[in-house]
Symmetry: C2
Subunit: 673 residues, 2 copies
């Protein structure tokens, strides 16, 4: 690569891009870890994008109508941090750049949402950013349809690498963006032909241009080091009327001795290599030094959008108070004042009617009252709409000619759905929820984990949550999936017993600002167990006494979801034999763990034997409830699953796997000795 030709062709551009490259080399050198090659390869694309196209104001990084820039190839985090520092982002100071990858710094190894403004999403696990971006672009379309172009009119830009495009989830994202002709989504593919193991060719020979075209994208191929070509391609992409992919032929670790090699992908820390690369760039400054005039040029780029932003603020101020309030509320993840009363009214009605319905149906009943008062909800399902019960009458289906539709047919793409929902939540203004079978949590896992890590309140509606699914068999029957979600930090797993608890779970999920929720819902009908109305949301305490022991309390049955019915029946059997038995419903173990010790001890006093009942594995939070945090609290047992399910009608499976009132009662008696 003839660096000198690049330097002389456009020296003004070159020096701006060289600043990114030099900062990258210095930060990785200081950290003695990281990824140098990608920022060095993509600096030209990023410079042109930020200088000429990206609508942003470094002084107002959360401006709702900014363009979004998503670094899907998150290992190249120094590209983003350099851009933020150079343009004047207040979070990413030079000190932070110097502390790249160190404890407490805002410059984590991979971009972490919430560490610094300007990081739109957490990336690193490949394929996530490009899939989040589909949700960002959908959110923009939906909000533009709702609030008008005056308030919402921006682009979503993505840098994706070969790794992003090899991950299967990228196909789900590409298919969705193509299907919905998300014309404000522009993806730069860093076509450097290098991965960690060596040449991309070792593992893939896919013609990416044809692949994107097959899904209806506009595609261009350019030299990723030619600023004019980059500029023209972005201009063309904006006009394409389709999602646009710009294949940027680049050289990883440009201008260094590791250029075009897999070594260049990683941390370049050799001092001679760094010195030689800087010399090739004509970069004569010290480590972490950016000359003041160059920094000023970059800061001018950072304030380029200030006027746009001010105009936008004026436009926001010009709309009706009601519209402004709603706009601000949905972007602040607030709930409407009416939510609480609406849930209470539904609970009252249900406690009187006491229907026997599946909790997936209960969920639909709740959504029927919520969706009309929360215009920010966007629902969907991964091709199981009629099973997940996620569509309510008022939503409308999102489509090319119906951008105000609030329901997404995600197709058979659980992972893409979850990642795009995260994108919607990150974009702001939208409360996304989406459904699939609980067993297919497996497919959505990488994105569900990222929701928890990013602290965003995505809602996963997981129906058919046990062997109660029946004849579809063990591939479709979750056994360990509730445990998997419970094992994940910052995740609320709700397994409601009836319609009342389902309504409470939805209220909590939609009121959450920093924690995603997993709603674990039955396929099969369950009775209303909360027939006595309380205005208080009892599920907010995680677990509570549903039925008190009569006589001396000898046993406590703790159950969730569909198994609460079984616990109540077991209590009847035990009470008939004079064994005083309390039933605790435990719709959310995480919230229960957050209660003070006094409350927890009131619900689960030491002494009586304890039996847990859940049609899943015991691993997953049960033992501490049963045995106590430090042991010795109680003798305990568990009725649940210890192996995969089977294909048969649900009732047969509960009998055969021994999840019955009789088995629970027998376990209590065994423990009582």
């Amino acid at each position: 690569m003839d660096i000198s030709a690049l330097r002389t062709a456009n020296p003004e551009h070159w020096s701006k891009a060289a600043a990114i490259r030099a900062l990258t080399l210095d930060a990785v050198h200081a950290a003695n870890s990281g990824h140098s090659g990608m920022p060095m390869g993509m600096a030209d694309v990023a410079t042109v994008l930020f200088e000429k196209h990206l609508k942003f104001d470094a002084a107002a990084p959360y401006w709702p109508d900014r363009d979004r820039f998503i670094l899907s190839a998150g290992h190249g985090s120094m590209l983003l941090y350099s851009l933020l520092y150079l343009t004047g982002n207040e979070d990413i100071t030079l000190e932070e750049i110097r502390n790249f990858r160190q404890w407490g710094s805002k410059t984590a190894g991979h971009p972490e949402y919430g560490h610094a403004s300007g990081v739109e999403t957490t990336t690193g696990p490949l394929g996530q950013g490009i899939s989040n971006a589909v949700g960002f672009a959908m959110a923009e379309e939906i909000l533009r349809a709702r609030y008008g172009k005056k308030l919402v009119d921006h682009h979503t830009y993505v840098i994706a690498g070969d790794g992003c495009l090899m991950e299967g989830v990228s196909q789900e994202a590409i298919g969705l963006a193509g299907r919905h002709q998300l014309s404000k989504l522009i993806v730069f593919w860093d076509n450097n032909n290098i991965t960690i193991d060596g040449s991309v060719d070792l593992a893939d020979r896919t013609d990416q241009v044809q692949r994107f075209k097959a899904s209806g994208w506009h595609v261009q191929e350019i030299d990723g080091h030619d600023p004019q070509a980059i500029d023209e391609a972005i201009t063309a992409a904006k006009k394409a009327g389709k999602p646009s992919m710009i294949a940027c032929k680049t050289h990883i670790a440009l201008g260094s001795s590791a250029q075009d090699t897999s070594k260049g992908h990683g941390a370049l820390t050799d001092e001679k290599l760094i010195a030689d690369a800087k010399a090739a760039y004509g970069w004569t400054y010290g480590p972490f030094e950016v000359p003041a005039d160059l920094k000023a040029e970059w800061e001018a780029i950072g304030s380029r959008g200030a006027a746009d932003r001010a105009e936008w603020e004026a436009r926001l101020a010009s709309v009706s108070d009601r519209k402004q309030q709603e706009f601000n509320r949905v972007f602040e993840r607030g709930v409407p004042k009416r939510l609480s009363a609406t849930i209470r009214a539904l609970k009252k009605q249900i406690s009187e009617e006491a229907p026997k319905v599946a909790t997936r149906k209960s969920s639909e009943m709740v959504l029927e009252v919520i969706n009309p008062i929360m215009p920010e909800t966007v629902g969907g399902s991964a091709d199981l709409t009629g099973s997940n019960n996620t569509l309510t009458g008022d939503m409308g289906v999102f489509d090319i000619d119906n951008r105000s539709g609030r329901y997404i047919h995600w197709g058979i793409r659980e992972h893409g759905m979850a990642a795009a929902m995260n994108g919607m939540a990150l974009h702001g203004g939208i409360r996304p929820y989406g459904g699939t079978f609980m067993a297919f949590t497996d497919y959505a896992r990488p994105a569900m984990r990222l929701a928890a890590l990013m602290k965003i309140p995505t809602v996963f509606v997981m129906t058919h949550d046990s062997i109660g699914l029946g004849e579809d068999g063990p591939t479709h029957q979750p056994v360990e999936h509730v445990a998997i979600s419970r094992a994940t930090p910052n995740t609320m797993v709700f397994r409601p017993a009836d319609t009342i608890e389902t309504a409470e779970a939805w209220e909590l999920a939609l009121s959450s600002t920093e924690t995603p929720s997993v709603l674990s819902l039955t396929r099969q009908n369950v009775p209303t167990v909360r027939t006595k109305h309380t205005t208080k949301n009892l599920s907010a305490q995680g677990g509570y006494v549903l039925a008190e022991a009569e006589g001396k309390r000898q046993a406590i049955l703790i159950a969730t979801g569909s198994e609460v019915e079984i616990a109540l029946a077991a209590r009847d059997l035990l009470q008939a034999e004079g064994i005083g038995t309390r039933v605790v419903s435990m719709p959310c173990m995480e919230l229960f763990a957050e209660q003070d010790e006094a409350y927890r001890k009131r619900v689960l006093p030491a002494g009586p034997v304890r039996v847990g009942i859940e049609a899943g594995v015991r691993i997953g939070g049960w033992d501490r409830l049963l045995l106590g945090e430090r042991g010795r609290e109680a003798k305990a047992g568990f009725i649940g699953m210890s192996d995969f399910g089977a294909s048969a009608p649900a009732g047969v499976l509960y009998e055969k796997f021994g999840i019955t009132a009789e088995a629970a009662a027998a376990k209590v008696k065994e423990l009582l000795g």
Copy 2:
């Protein structure tokens, strides 16, 4: 659709296919659940494939050189069961067809591997079958290169639906098959344009023909109800020299009133609909009735391959005894006699040298001695070869011009890798192992679960198994992933403390015939803790006393992997204060749970306080070890993670998150009171 034209155009073909359709309607009607439409739509393709092309012998369903038929669209299980019954498979009797989806039947809701011969893999979770198939086809190539065309020369056929192609993992499979030009892989796409939510168009408009071509596939488009076109297309596909996709335009639920509708996807149980469809087919027989002459024709198809098979057996008998023995051994999942001695020799050497290395490096040291004596191992990595340490010197890299290569560069495709490894294990003759970072268990989860469900011994080499990964930060640091694998039934999770335990773990993983293994390995160096050589594989007991208490035993520290070093250091601190402390190393909780109670009580006697140490979440098997199955055994505590990690050097993270010898010793003292 003019059914009568189809009937009259080729009545012999028609009646054979009609038998599949009628059996499907009857079985779904009897079960009152299932999926009728797909078998009705694909009966013509399947009939032509079985009648004219598929190399199989119904009397010898496990014949190693048979063609494999994989129903990736597993919900259409009645297509497969009908074919097996009609061709004379001994497992699938008419009684089994009548018991479709019932407890104990071999005709589960979705095809379950191990329930009946002829079911090559468990399908249902979409996209898995087509991805398994890539592994089947790779296995065939590798074994053909090793044993010659005389013994290995067969095709892998797949029926995939729109759902399979929308799942991201299919792109990983398509890319891999294209890259490696797996010319004996032939995929029929059931192009019926219907999913559960409605028209495919609701969610996807991808041009599948162009998509497959972009990855280097041979593609044909045919009428999936035209037997001659199907026949010709299969013939052409076999000659293509590339993986081949045949897009079959079909009508779901052909000939019924639900044809071409999403209703037709599901269970057609309406008696009039069934009667009308049968009338349209000209099918005049009773439920579950197949006329004898038609059954005989199908059975002739079932025995068509008997002569081929006999010739193959003669060829096998003609090769050297040594080659025969090896061929049979690898297909029976046997290990070479030398394995045990080889592992023992390595253990002896290591216990003397006592290296301080990362267990991922230990794993490489083990593979260096195993791979030369186990020609059936096929290794690989999802683009982390140098980090996972999965490549040894003798393997060679699998490629178009090196089919005997035993190492696969899977690319950034953890899910596709896991699914294809499952396919290799299912094919037989191969022991697959593959690596990625432990955190990316998330991406591979759906296939890892299926390995456990199918009872196949796939080995997942998961390195960088804690915050010890360091600066790459929380996206790359597993916290809940060991727990996730432990929560999964029939999965052995090995978290070895040093090279000795790593060697023992590999021996157990490679000796397993029915259980997949997850090897949880460190990035960071750990000392050899087992410096006293034992010929016995102590890890086979799951956990064992590594260091005994001196003086009165007051505490037991239980640790795994990299935290065993911390436990030993904590013991030193406690013993220095006169607190007798035992250290138990627990490399495999699942194997420990399988030991008899006497052994478990010997290792974990009631009385002393217990502290568990693992750089992961407590959920995941810890509580029962700490507190006892029924509680009351001990006072207990845990040193580990309760939230996500962070980006910083590993040593800093251990300090900051409090996973230290000092913290463990303090916890013991706190519990002792």
